[in-house]
Symmetry: C2
Subunit: 348 residues, 2 copies
């Protein structure tokens, strides 16, 4: 039963036709007799034949229908959600994906991309590891296969891009806080040397400046983009000579940490201190956020990224395009039961 793979020849012989007839049946060509088609499909099922895409792809220089996805940190729910979104449209489009985790290592990233390339991917979506350079992608784009960078930028690389509008989102959020009367607004959490961090702090800064409020660097407190990082950041913020009365948090994890830290100091988030967070993982943990958030919807972004790449693949040789994924400020006035314990009656 498992003595070597069963091929078209086998099923041709068993069905008493020639291999090309079988081939036609496989691609459901209209120019084959209905009776023979039935016979062939029956034999295919009986012998447990499986189509060999590798061989097919070798022959015709068609698309392998494999695409590569490399993300910097699949452990982060944001990127997991992103990947799931991509997976959805890839599956529906009849593609399979190599999906790998670079763990922020450019070396692993390079290796994994090389490996994918040897396997003939017809496109690549990359959420680049920190420190990725244009040169790393040079041979890939030179070979003509479409590459899409998401979430983070690769400066100088001639690839398509899909980024969130971090700048506008931060502007909106800070504007909201200012509208509520806050004047000292901190930026808490996140790793400083990322483009996302830079964009979000830029929006924070410009929104303050626009309102005539000085944007003091003391109020930008970077840390890890985690719950622990949020706790640490807010603790530092509250120790400032002139502590802030509100904060824009780098992401949702940091925002939760900030709430934790506030409660630990006897402050009620929302009532005693305004909190707005970028919500990179909205829809994921539906029960939690009673916070006002700048929502990114990673699954939607993933779907959009996949669609972009497939379009490029189908279009053949298209120019790289840059798209900005819009975000929206979600203001939650009240918070239902089952919410995040201490985060009700939000001032922000």
């Amino acid at each position: 039963m498992s003595k070597g793979r069963v091929t078209v020849v086998d099923i041709a012989r068993a069905a008493g036709v020639s291999k090309s007839t079988v081939s036609l049946v496989l691609q459901s060509s209209p120019l084959v007799n209905e009776a023979t088609r039935a016979k062939v499909t029956a034999v295919i099922r009986d012998l447990g034949y499986v189509y060999n895409r590798g061989a097919a792809n070798l022959r015709q220089s068609a698309s392998s229908r494999i695409i590569g996805i490399v993300v910097n940190d699949l452990t982060n729910s944001f990127f997991a959600e992103l990947a799931v979104g991509m997976d959805m449209v890839m599956q529906s489009a009849g593609y399979v994906q190599f999906l790998s985790n670079s763990a922020e290592s450019v070396d692993r990233q390079r290796e994994v991309i090389a490996s994918m390339r040897e396997h003939g991917i017809s496109g690549l979506i990359l959420s680049p590891a920190r420190g990725t350079e244009a040169a790393d992608l040079k041979p890939l784009v030179a070979s003509g296969i479409p590459v899409l960078a998401v979430v983070r930028n690769v400066v100088g690389a001639k690839v398509s891009t899909l980024f969130s509008d971090n700048y506008a989102g931060a502007m909106d959020a800070v504007g909201h806080l200012i509208g509520l009367g806050h004047r000292r607004i901190a930026f808490l959490g996140g790793m400083a040397n990322t483009t996302v961090f830079a964009e979000r702090t830029a929006g924070w800064r410009d929104a303050l400046n626009k309102a005539g409020i000085p944007a003091s660097d003391d109020l930008v407190i970077a840390s890890t983009a985690s719950r622990a990082g949020g706790v640490a950041a807010v603790e530092r913020a509250l120790q400032l000579p002139e502590p802030p009365t509100a904060a824009l948090c780098f992401n949702d994890a940091a925002a939760f940490g900030v709430c934790d830290g506030l409660r630990a100091k006897g402050k009620e988030p929302g009532r005693d201190f305004g909190v707005v967070g970028f919500d990179d993982v909205i829809e994921a943990e539906t029960a939690v956020p009673a916070l006002t958030t700048v929502s990114v919807d990673p699954q939607g972004m993933g779907r959009r990224a996949a669609q972009m790449l497939l379009k490029q693949i189908n279009a053949g040789r298209a120019e790289p395009e840059a798209i900005v994924n819009s975000v929206r400020l979600v203001v939650r006035e009240s918070c239902g039961a089952g919410g995040n314990g201490g985060a009700r009656r939000m001032l922000a």
Copy 2:
């Protein structure tokens, strides 16, 4: 530059040798002159040649060095961590993986597995969608490619397995609570119709019975395995005629929800109510758990799964093996700063 793929023939011509010499160089065979080897490798680099594994694999009936991984819910951090663990060892072993999300749909799962098979995977790791039957995997195992089921069981399927010792973990956890003097101990959260749920509740039940405490079905309150589910479950539990004084929570998300729900009722988790949770995602969100937990370490489990599968692949035609991944009870007496706000001074 990108006029068709550059092949062995191209580099053979450019290097002034024959293709088989190039082939030998590619597989770093010892029987090739050092000078010609240098020449060939130089040309390879200059022309930007990429090895075509598809063609190679077609010729020699060797392993494709592609393995398939299908997970029921990549949105769940547990499975994301699991996948990352697998990714690590696959990368180190020179494999690439198709990684896909079935989203608990047996249909998607079947399609995706079929697609992977057409691409010639040399092994499959499956965290089965709910409702997966042995028949779904029948053709795959019949074709002789190693299959490993993780986390959940597929009854009747002749595949290798790697499960956590949910039963023993639940026993340990409940024993711990009993040792602290609790008599009415609930089981909160989790979807009822899963094997994991069945195993964990069985351990809960048997530990109670062993201690001579009746295990009332009222105390098993299923819900979703999420934070919201935990909130709902503990609310129901506290409305019982004889409410519990402690609980074993299905997973960490549910445990957090239980703490939320307790605080909403003015009860301090750990002080007023004993909480132990299965910690499916330990190491992931390092800041949070001030809870006593039954730890599973999904990344480690993923690494182990990958190693198992690779061993099977290398061993050729090995019998399926069943391995149990041990879990450990982690008792946290105190909880440092930056912990989960309300979950300190745990009674459990």
